[in-house]
């Protein structure tokens, strides 16, 4: 859950934040994969999207996949794969590609878009040369990117949980009530436990409310 967020993407914008703060969710909403529960997203017609993990069991070959994606977008397949140093077989099933080469295919399909790029940890699996080339390819583009490792120097950085308190709960009761509290930035629920990211000035209130609801607090940091 992300609340009270206004983000205008112009040039390169990098999302940062701890795990579970909602980076991937925000990127999916920005790309049009998920609908926001409230608020609105204005995006150009052509959006390129790279998910956090590109699937590893695709039977289609890289060349066939990119050709299809190009036809769907009405765009010619460019030289992104070559620039990223793709070395696998273009005609073999993508399931046979290494993680890095599969990621390069995922990036190549995203770069078919002429509008904004929405990239979820796009450097994952890339070797240093390809990672540097990707940073170079992104220069001059409009992109919303999640990045833990500071690949894009000079980009606008948005910390989704900047200055936050993380409350780990077990035996969670009344999660809906917790989500609705002022200052709660994100809630990641896993079975009977949950991680709640809260603005520092509201953490005492949220903690008290969680205890009042009957939750067990595992840690606060």
């Amino acid at each position: 859950m992300l609340r009270d967020l206004t983000l205008e993407v112009s040039g390169l914008v990098v999302l940062t934040g701890a795990n579970g703060t909602g980076k991937s969710t925000l990127l999916k909403i920005a790309a049009g994969v998920l609908k926001p529960t409230s608020g609105r997203v204005v995006r150009p017609a052509s959006v390129g999207y790279v998910p956090e993990r590109f699937p590893s069991d695709v039977k289609m070959s890289a060349s066939s996949y990119l050709a299809h994606m190009g036809r769907i977008r009405g765009a010619a397949v460019g030289d992104v794969l070559e620039r990223l140093g793709f070395v696998g077989s273009l005609t073999a099933p993508m399931s046979q590609l290494s993680k890095g080469n599969a990621q390069k295919v995922a990036l190549a399909q995203a770069f078919l878009a002429t509008g904004v790029l929405v990239l979820d940890e796009p450097w994952t699996g890339l070797d240093p040369a390809a990672a540097a080339e990707l940073s170079s390819l992104l220069q001059g583009r409009t992109a919303l990117v999640s990045d833990h490792e500071g690949h894009l120097a000079g980009a606008t950085r948005v910390d989704l949980a900047g200055g936050h308190v993380t409350i780990e709960l077990s035996r969670v009761v009344g999660l809906d009530a917790l989500e609705a509290l002022e200052g709660v930035r994100s809630v990641l629920s896993r079975g009977s436990s949950a991680r709640v990211v809260v603005a520092p000035d509201r953490s005492d209130h949220v903690l008290a409310e969680a205890l009042r609801l009957g939750c067990s607090v595992r840690s606060v940091r």
């Binding site: 998910p51 994606m69 036809r71």
Partner: protein, 210 residues
């Protein structure tokens, strides 16, 4: 839309999961028409009844051919979920209609009773209707309406199994009843309209559910 349909169809063919329903369909067709299957329209009732679950199965295969993450990329590339689900429905209907054509032609070749062109067209139409109904049921319970393949299989299987004993209370029953009595009925046309509505409804539900 054509490029999207081509991509999804190519993905299904690459995946080879379509082979299971296709082989079951061909195998049972072979058994149904290995001996004298009866009068022309009556003979069609068995293959029409078979095509309904096979089309539902094939529709589930088409709907779930891409995994969730790759479907997300396709949705973004195509510009929206409605385009992708519409294209998936078109692919499922196309596969089902090809099987309907095979099912309509098969007894013309193998059944000792001669078929008029009119009887062939009635049989083709009846099979197409059963195929549409099956596709509608398959898509209605496949991703993104139901996220889990287990729940999808259970729901489709339950609906398909329940359809037969309900007889003329269902559109499938109208078609099978007309063929079983060796007659042409307007209810087959209505069943076709319901089949198209079911497929369209499945797309709309999928878009809203996603």
């Amino acid at each position: 839309m054509i490029s999207l349909v081509r991509y999804l169809a190519a993905d299904v063919l690459r995946g080879q999961r379509y082979l299971a329903p296709l082989l079951v369909f061909l195998g049972v067709m072979g058994m149904l028409f290995s001996t004298d299957a009866g009068q022309p329209l009556e003979a069609y009732s068995g293959s029409a009844a078979l095509l309904y679950p096979i089309a539902a199965w094939t529709a589930v295969v088409v709907a779930t051919s891409e995994d969730v993450v790759r479907r997300e990329i396709t949705v973004v590339s195509a510009g929206g979920r409605s385009q992708v689900l519409t294209a998936a429905a078109l692919v499922a209907v196309s596969f089902a209609l090809v099987m309907a054509l095979v099912a309509a032609v098969w007894p013309v070749v193998t059944n000792p009773h001669p078929y008029t062109f009119g009887e062939f067209l009635v049989g083709l139409g009846a099979h197409a209707v059963c195929a549409l109904l099956g596709v509608g049921v398959g898509l209605m319970f496949a991703r993104p309406v139901f996220d889990s393949i287990g729940r999808t299989v259970l729901a489709v299987f339950s609906v398909v199994v329940l359809t037969y004993p309900l007889g003329r209370a269902t559109p499938l029953g109208w078609v099978l009843d007309a063929l079983g009595h060796n007659q042409v009925s307007l209810s087959v046309l209505w069943a076709g309209v319901i089949g198209i509505a079911l497929v369209s409804c499945a797309v709309v539900v999928g878009v809203r559910r996603a």
